[in-house]
């Protein structure tokens, strides 16, 4: 606004007005246009399954690091966390911490064995020495479940952004996002998805830097002043000052009752163990040429993701020191937790900056949704269609890619439907936290045990996947957010991880020791072990 009025106000007042009101739309269209060009370019390079599902394994370390960051920092991170910190202070910052340190588990335990032993999906690793059909069927189901949970959070975020930005109602906005993402995935495959994620990661970091800069400028570049203001956060003088630096506003006993602290621990467990079981993050390690590059891409991702989450300090806490309460409440007076960051941008940088931040948030969502759709559809096509239904024999060449495209369409439609049903008020970070808990309970136990435990067998994997998946979902249904509401909740915690993750591990272990040994699986353990730890025989890059 400031910049456009300086430029145009003297000669072209009309243009100034239309520029300002159309700026969001123009920026948004510019991003969409650019990414569609990439998709078009990628579509021409997509020759064969390895190119479509794994970008020809030709992505470099820093590129994949940026793409992992772009795949990971979702609507939950940008919109959800900043809202959570703005209203709940320190307790919201716990999401930021957990989202980063989780990468230690990815780096030390799963990234390299997965790259060495798998091909396109998480289930490849499990099917390596276990009976492929039951294991793949369940792994595919779990992938679809986690991805759908995650996707709903993104759709809700996209809906509120577009609603605010272009004035489109929630439902058509969500449908629009769904259609765009399908174009990327259906035509562009993994290569287009990767580049959309890289561009988005750069845009998001730029947006976060600018926003943090403006917040610090507001506090005259003094950390003392900034933290002082946070400790007496009064929402621009519109509320009683409260100390947001102090823990306990969301999970403390006073705020959440006696179960609060345990709920926080449960959330943290889910976050720190969930990332290593997120299918859309895991498949990113198939896009690089070898395990060494997978490792360096995790390190790149950790640098970028860490820097971003530290900045949530400034635009999360900062929002509470600057924005008036009336601006960040919904029409019916509830906290509008998903819109804090864009409104802060509008307040500090005017309409143009609001447009930029909204476009960044939107780009963020598109990139994550593309990644989710990609991994869900790859899993259904590769694991379920080819290996479960067709016993690993492709009846016609190219069929797997076709099935993947059809699945992308169905997954998109289901998430759109659920997001519209849930409506705009659910917090995106909270929804994603649940997806992490499901991933940690169902996927992580079987991934770890299949690589590190010789005795592990098919029954153990089936039990681990099924029980982990069912227990986490049932606990969510019985939680205060579930079917019986806050008063009738049977399970007192909002986050199921602390119970469902041990149950997942226990089921995988019991399922193994209570059933007969599987000599074939144990015989193949030597092969998997050598392959996982040395990279001998792993899938090679196919295109450059």
């Amino acid at each position: 606004m400031l910049c456009s009025s300086l430029l145009f106000s003297s000669q072209l007042p009309i243009l100034s007005v239309s520029m300002a009101s159309n700026a969001p739309l123009i920026m948004f269209l510019a991003f969409v246009g650019l990414t569609l060009l990439i998709t078009f370019w990628a579509a021409k390079k997509n020759t064969g399954a390895s190119a479509y599902f794994a970008a020809g394994r030709s992505i470099t370390g820093w590129q994949n690091g940026l793409a992992v960051a772009g795949d990971y920092m979702s609507a939950a991170s940008f919109l959800g966390i900043s809202g959570m910190i703005c209203f709940s202070g320190y307790d919201g910052f716990m999401y930021s911490v957990g989202f980063l340190v989780a990468y230690i588990t990815v780096l030390l335990v799963v990234a390299e064995p997965l790259r060495n032993a798998g091909k396109y999906t998480m289930a490849d690793l499990l099917a390596y020495r276990l009976k492929p059909r039951p294991v793949r069927a369940l792994a595919s189901l779990s992938t679809l479940t986690v991805s759908t949970f995650y996707m709903i959070a993104q759709m809700v975020g996209a809906g509120v952004i577009i609603q605010r930005l272009i004035g489109l109602p929630f439902a058509p906005a969500v449908v629009g996002v769904g259609v765009l993402m399908l174009v990327y995935v259906v035509f562009g495959g993994m290569l287009a998805t990767t580049w959309v994620q890289i561009i988005k990661a750069l845009l998001l970091i730029a947006g976060a830097l600018l926003l943090s800069f403006l917040v610090l400028q507001f506090h005259e570049f003094s950390f003392t002043k900034f933290f002082n203001a946070v400790a007496h956060a009064d929402y621009g003088g519109t509320a009683e000052p409260k100390n947001l630096m102090e823990p306990g506003l969301k999970f403390g006993v006073a705020a959440a009752g006696p179960w609060g602290p345990l709920d926080l621990i449960s959330l943290c467990l889910g976050l720190v163990l969930g990332t290593a079981g997120l299918p859309h993050i895991l498949v990113r390690f198939y896009t690089v040429p070898d395990a060494k590059t997978a490792r360096s891409s995790v390190v790149w991702a950790m640098a970028i993701i860490g820097a971003f989450y530290i900045m949530t300090t400034f635009f999360g806490f900062g929002a509470a020191t600057i924005l008036e309460k009336a601006k960040i409440l919904t029409a019916d007076g509830k906290p509008d937790t998903n819109m804090v960051a864009p409104i802060l941008a509008q307040h500090l940088g005017g309409e143009l900056f609001f447009a930029f931040i909204s476009a960044v948030a939107f780009a963020t969502i598109l990139a994550v949704v593309a990644g989710l759709t990609m991994s869900a559809s790859a899993s259904f096509a590769h694991d379920f269609y080819s290996n479960v239904i067709h016993h690993g024999k492709e009846n016609r060449p190219g069929m797997e890619i076709r099935v993947a495209r059809i699945t992308a369409f169905c997954v998109g439609a289901v998430s759109i439907g659920i997001a519209i049903y849930l409506g705009p008020s659910v917090n995106a970070a909270f929804l994603v936290g649940l997806a992490f808990a499901v991933a940690a309970s169902a996927n992580l136990p079987v991934i770890v045990l299949s690589v590190f435990w010789k005795r592990f067998n098919t029954s153990g994997a089936v039990a681990g996947l099924a029980v982990g998946l069912i227990s986490s979902i049932v606990l969510i249904m019985l939680s205060p957010n579930g079917v019986f509401g806050k008063a009738g909740a049977i399970f007192p915690l909002e986050n199921p991880g602390i119970v469902s993750i041990p149950i997942g591990f226990l089921a995988a272990w019991l399922g193994t020791i209570l059933t007969a040994r599987d000599p074939a699986a144990e015989a193949k353990f030597a092969e998997l072990r050598v392959r996982a730890h040395t990279g001998l025989g792993s899938e090679k890059a196919t295109s450059h």
Partner: protein, 110 residues
Amino acid sequence: MSQSPLDAPSPALNPDWEKLEEKPEFRALLVRKRQFIVPSLVFFMLFYLALPILVGYWPDLMKTKVWGEVNIAYVFALSQFLMAWIMAYLYVRVAAKWDKSAAAIIQGHE
């Protein structure tokens, strides 16, 4: 260029996996990896989970101010970022050595 995802695994020679797995050098590599990874993971989980436990059950201790309005809770949260980065750095450094051992073990099989 692989045309179908279902074709045979990469056309590497079919090595004798059992023999490779029993090689003393391979066993030594596994031991070295375990000696780094297991203690690191244990330390990391303890250090990380200490945060929600302390914040949840000893909030008054964590509210102690150390620098202006900045309290122990916030400093401990920030230290988690530092811990993660340092651990990643140490891991990458030691893993580069493992790469060399791994390459030596599979030499002649690729």
